[in-house]
Amino acid sequence: MAKGMRVQAKSKNGVTQVKALINHPMETGNRKDKKTGKLIPAHFIEEVTCEYKGEQVMLAEWSGGVSKNPYMAFKFNGGSADEMVKVGWKDNQGGNDTLDVKIK
């Protein structure tokens, strides 16, 4: 299966922009199942990180208020083509994933 995460990193004028798209339900825990009427348990990404040259350049903390199949982008000073960045996430149920991509 395809990985449930896609990452792009692009460097321009000494600034690198990292964009990530993650397949994730992002359930807040406050939503009811339409059929059963029961609350759907919370299941959302709590942390997203990005590492560049072994150093953490970004750490995001999220609530279930980030949309389903979440997207995020950020920029950091530095980075150039062909170097690598690593993006990782973990959710409140212990799910996690990482992906290394080359900066373009």
Binding site: M5, R6, Q8, A20, L21, P25, S67, N69, Y71
Partner: protein
């Protein structure tokens, strides 16, 4: 027996259509396109592939923000993997389609002289599975929508070229699709055309109605409302439900004929699927 009744009904419906005898789909398509040109003189024809985003700047801005990294990208990638994974018998989807299934979306749906029916891309995806001993997929979402997304993706920029062959059955299918499109239905009594031909760009509460021209070009779609991909027939069923009509079966004759007419009206526009919609 049941079939006979359906057929008789079908014919009687047709007989009641004054246009049947003189129907000229190409003239009707031109009139359809001209209606939109007149209604929106400042919208370029090619922009209709972008649906409602051709008409509303505020909505377009959000859509462009989403297209920055569209949620369907993961689905296209999964669709490609599904498409390329061989069946148990060693064959694959590519063996079932012209040109290995690549860049062919613009030819669907088409009238199949052998079966005397309109055939859609999703239908042939499942036929391909069946012919190779695999179980068919569910019609409206999931794997079929992903495979169809990938196939649409490989066809981007190809121009829709739906043909209505010189066969009374093909013309009848087109006519039935047209009649479906213009018929009021459901408790709320709406025709497809009411919203999408006569009122595109208008607000239904805060929903902005999309123009019928070009609608088919961006399917399948990832709808934020669904939080996932869905096929054209999933959307038809949703529309029917919204007007409180009983939806027809996905890939049943009604929706296939509707898709035939609906797509024919967009002939000349490029494939732009899969799309992202609210």
């Amino acid at each position: 027996m049941k079939k006979t009744i359906a057929l008789v009904l079908g014919f009687s419906l047709l007989a009641s259509l004054p246009l049947t005898a003189t129907a000229d789909p190409e003239a009707e398509r031109e009139a359809f396109v001209n209606h939109f040109k007149k209604k929106f003189p400042n919208i370029a024809l090619e922009d209709y592939v972008n649906g409602v985003y051709a008409l509303d700047a505020g909505a377009r801005e959000q859509w462009e923000a989403i297209e920055e990294f569209p949620p369907y990208e993961i689905d296209v990638e999964e669709g490609q993997q599904l498409f390329e994974t061989p069946f148990a018998n060693g064959k694959s989807y590519a063996d079932c389609f012209e040109n290995g299934g690549i860049a062919i979306r613009q030819n669907y749906p088409y009238f199949d002289a052998k079966s005397g029916q309109v055939k859609t891309l999703e239908q042939e995806i499942n036929e391909c599975r069946k012919n190779n001993g695999e179980k068919p997929l569910k019609w409206k979402k999931g794997e079929i929508a992903k495979i169809s997304s990938y196939m649409a993706y490989t066809s981007r920029d190809k121009i829709f070229d739906i043909k209505i062959p010189d066969d009374p059955r093909a013309l009848a299918a087109y006519e039935q699709g047209k009649q479906f499109f213009y018929a009021k239905r459901g408790q709320l009594n709406f025709a497809c055309a009411d919203c999408h031909v006569y009122s595109p760009g208008m607000n239904l509460r805060t929903d902005i109605l999309s123009p019928a021209l070009g609608q088919v070009t961006h399917f399948p779609v990832y709808r934020s409302k669904w939080g996932e991909m869905g096929t054209m027939h999933r959307r038809y069923a949703g529309c029917n439900k919204q007007v409180r009509a009983k939806p027809f079966k996905a890939q049943g004759e009604e929706y296939r004929n509707l898709e035939y007419f609906h797509t024919y009206m967009s002939n000349g526009l490029p494939v732009n699927g899969p799309g992202a919609r609210k």
